[in-house]
């Protein structure tokens, strides 16, 4: 196989997968603590639109990222308040967050531009690539891993730290314990309420930042439906990654890789219908889902947190 082709596919896959990795790790934290948040799509698209608007107005991409993170966090806070404090159904509340997010993002996209106008079609600031001298010219992986924007580089820290935090630290242990059994954790003095709030909001912050990576780097600018269902892919990727941050990278590469291959095929003018290729990640997700649910041993070691989606009310502890 052509080495250049592999290099470029790897580069695009990494670039396209970055937002997926960030949002997936965020959702892993949320689901590990026992809260299912189906609002990722809504939080990402809100991050994308507010991040772009903030960056456009201040001409500062970092400010955009900051705002996107805050907005994503606030959206997740609504979900946390509805499900943890007000005991609403997690599935419906998550869907509501997505609906609210997509509606609000489209609305904001039409009024946050200059003079209360639309953001669509504006060219704003965007992240530039920071090639790392020497490393970026490595064969095969150089382009993909060492000629990227700062958000992609941040994953070199975020992924291992998240993994280490979850599996090797005490707060990480508490976090997983709450997700496995909230009542047992409460009984030994772990603050279930506060942890569930905290990690749900953290998941939202990461989803918001992931959204801003789309509007400030991957496809700079704002268009309606910018996230294009990536938030739903994230929900699938969490399962694909079996709730492990390290494995999220593999899944995101796969999904990003499909994007990359499609780019190449279109550039070379092949006849393979792009929609057939586009379907493959969704079909693959279903296959993985079947595999991890079918194999009992796999389910026990890498399956869903036992308490995922199960609300916990102290006074109704049974």
């Amino acid at each position: 196989m052509d080495l250049d082709l592999v290099t470029s596919i790897l580069a695009i896959a990494t670039f396209a997968g970055a937002s997926l990795v960030l949002a997936t790790i965020g959702e892993i934290f949320t689901e590990r603590v026992g809260i299912l948040n189906l609002g990722v799509e809504g939080m990402m698209i809100m991050g994308a639109v507010t991040g772009f608007a903030a960056a456009y107005r201040t001409n500062n991409v970092w400010f955009g990222v900051l705002i996107a993170g805050i907005v994503g966090g606030l959206m997740a806070l609504v979900h946390a308040f509805a499900t943890i404090t007000l005991r609403a159904d997690q599935i419906v509340s998550g869907l509501a967050i997505t609906l609210l997010g997509t509606g609000l993002a489209s609305f904001l996209g039409q009024i946050l531009g200059p003079d209360g106008g639309a953001l669509v079609g504006l060219t704003g600031p965007k992240f530039t690539k920071w090639p790392i001298p020497g490393l970026s010219s490595l064969p095969l992986v150089g382009e993909g891993l060492f000629n990227q924007d700062p958000i992609v580089y941040s994953l070199f820290v975020v992924v291992p730290v998240s993994w280490f935090f979850l599996y090797k630290t005490r707060p990480g242990l508490y976090l997983r314990a709450v997700g496995e059994s909230a009542s047992t954790s409460d009984a030994v003095g772990v603050d279930v309420f506060r942890r569930r709030y905290g990690y749900t909001v953290l998941g939202g912050v990461m989803a918001g930042i992931a959204g801003s990576h789309l509007s400030l780097s991957y496809t700079p600018g704002w268009t309606e439906n910018l996230t294009g269902g990536r938030g739903w892919i994230v929900i699938a990727l969490v399962i694909f990654a079996t709730w492990n941050p390290a494995r999220a990278v593999v899944g995101a590469w796969l999904f990003g890789g499909v994007n990359a291959i499609q780019f190449r095929l279109q550039a070379e003018g092949t006849n393979l219908p792009s929609s057939i290729l586009n379907m493959s990640p969704y079909i693959l997700t279903i296959v993985v889902l079947v595999l991890i649910t079918r194999t009992d041993k796999l389910r026990q070691t890498i399956g869903a947190p036992a308490g995922l989606g199960i609300p916990y009310y102290r006074e109704e502890r049974g």
């Binding site: 609403a88 609210l100 997509t102 969704y282």
Partner: protein, 389 residues
């Protein structure tokens, strides 16, 4: 100093009629209040905006007197797919089967209906080319297509234990990509001047409009057979779910799965039954859109009717007749929102914001139908009258 009040939630043993109606009403008002704040921030006067939306969705008395029901019929047209998808979701959610895939089932129904309309007449030339033959065939085909698309995740759930939220969701994307491939590729109209979309359906496959029917023709507009079909389906589902043994089993499974299992109710049979029903109804929505409005397979089917159906079903508390009412109100938000663009120059997407706000508000407010808020003063020494020390 600590906060002197303590808030506690206490489960209500009985929910009075007043509470079960009052709480959602207040929740919707709260949502409109927050929507009003967003509107004001965006520089639009809330009251005037809401009034313009209502006029856009339902028209005005002077228009009705003149026999102009255009606004109302547009709202009913928009409500039609939402009634179908709302009913589809409601059926599945009743037994806690999270069918997020009505969007894909709708699209599959439209694909099947398109195949019947464009390819069946050539395949079976002896078949009488009248509406009396082709509309029922279309409905059957769309129902089977939607039901099949729902059946696959359902069988994966009951036989393999695969989580249906993800599988139905993935099936949405697969169906939508297939549909886009078809109308831009193999099924593209050869005489369409390169415009993406299938050929126009022959007229004997079109759903008749109200304007072609006796009595109903006073309404005029674009409203078509699909609306009648949707209301009929609501009636049928109401009978099945509320008046038959099967419906009772499904309800019991949703309310207490273990008790139902011990009573010998089959989960497998009921999940498959409900999902075939749910997918079939969603499939009809797709047919109704292509055979009733555009008369061809083209862009614009995947506009989120499946997701809005979830809101509709939830707000309607999964009750078939309430689904019809809520779907019409949701459609009014859409149509009213579109009118804002024309009348006040505001973005139509405000309706999406309001819908999201209403759902979150009703969902969160629901806690007060199930629980009573108990506020107690803490740190007060004097015991209440009559209380033993």
């Amino acid at each position: 100093m600590t906060f002197p009040w303590k808030f506690e939630l206490e489960r209500r043993l009985e929910v009075s009629r007043w509470v079960s109606w009052g709480v959602p009403t207040v929740s919707v008002l709260v949502a409109f209040f927050f929507g009003g704040i967003i509107l004001s921030l965006a520089g639009a006067p809330p009251i005037e905006t809401y009034r313009a939306m209502a006029a856009g969705a339902f028209g005005s008395i002077s228009e009705w007197v003149d026999g102009n029901f255009f606004a109302v019929t547009e709202t009913l047209v928009r409500a039609t797919p939402l009634i179908f998808t709302g009913l589809a979701v409601a059926m599945a959610f009743r037994m806690l089967f999270w069918n997020i895939g009505t969007e894909g089932q709708l699209v599959m129904g439209a694909i099947a209906g398109t195949w019947v309309a464009i390819y069946l007449p050539d395949l079976l030339p002896w078949l009488p080319q009248t509406r009396w033959v082709y509309i029922p065939i279309g409905i059957i085909a769309a129902t089977i297509a939607g039901a099949t698309w729902a059946f696959i995740p359902a069988i994966m759930k009951v036989k393999l234990g695969v989580d249906e939220i993800i599988s139905t969701l993935m099936f949405n994307y697969i169906a939508i990509l297939l549909y886009q491939q078809l109308y831009t590729g193999p099924w593209k109209d050869p005489e369409g001047f390169g415009f993406p979309g299938s050929a126009l359906f022959p007229e004997f496959t079109w759903f008749p409009k109200f304007s072609e029917m006796p009595v109903l023709n006073v309404l005029g507009g674009r409203i078509h057979l699909g609306f009648v079909l949707a209301v009929l389906v609501a009636g049928v589902l109401w009978v099945i779910m509320d008046k038959t043994r099967r419906g009772y089993e499904v309800r019991l499974l949703g309310e207490n799965t273990n008790a139902a299992k011990y009573a010998g109710i089959s989960v497998v049979r009921n999940v498959l039954f409900v999902m075939i029903l749910s997918g079939g109804v969603a499939g009809m929505a797709g047919l109704s859109e292509v055979a009733g409005l555009g008369h061809r397979l083209q862009a614009g089917l995947d506009v989120g009717n499946g997701f809005t159906g979830i809101i509709v079903a939830w707000l309607a508390k999964l009750r078939p007749w309430s689904v019809v009412i809520v779907a019409i109100l949701m459609a009014a938000l859409f149509v009213g929102g579109d009118q804002l663009q024309i009348s006040l120059g505001l973005p139509a997407s405000i309706s999406g914001v309001l819908q999201g706000a209403i759902l979150i508000s009703v969902l969160s407010g629901d806690v007060f139908t199930r629980y009573r808020l108990k506020v107690t003063r803490i740190g007060v020494v004097a015991p209440a009258v009559g209380e033993e020390a």
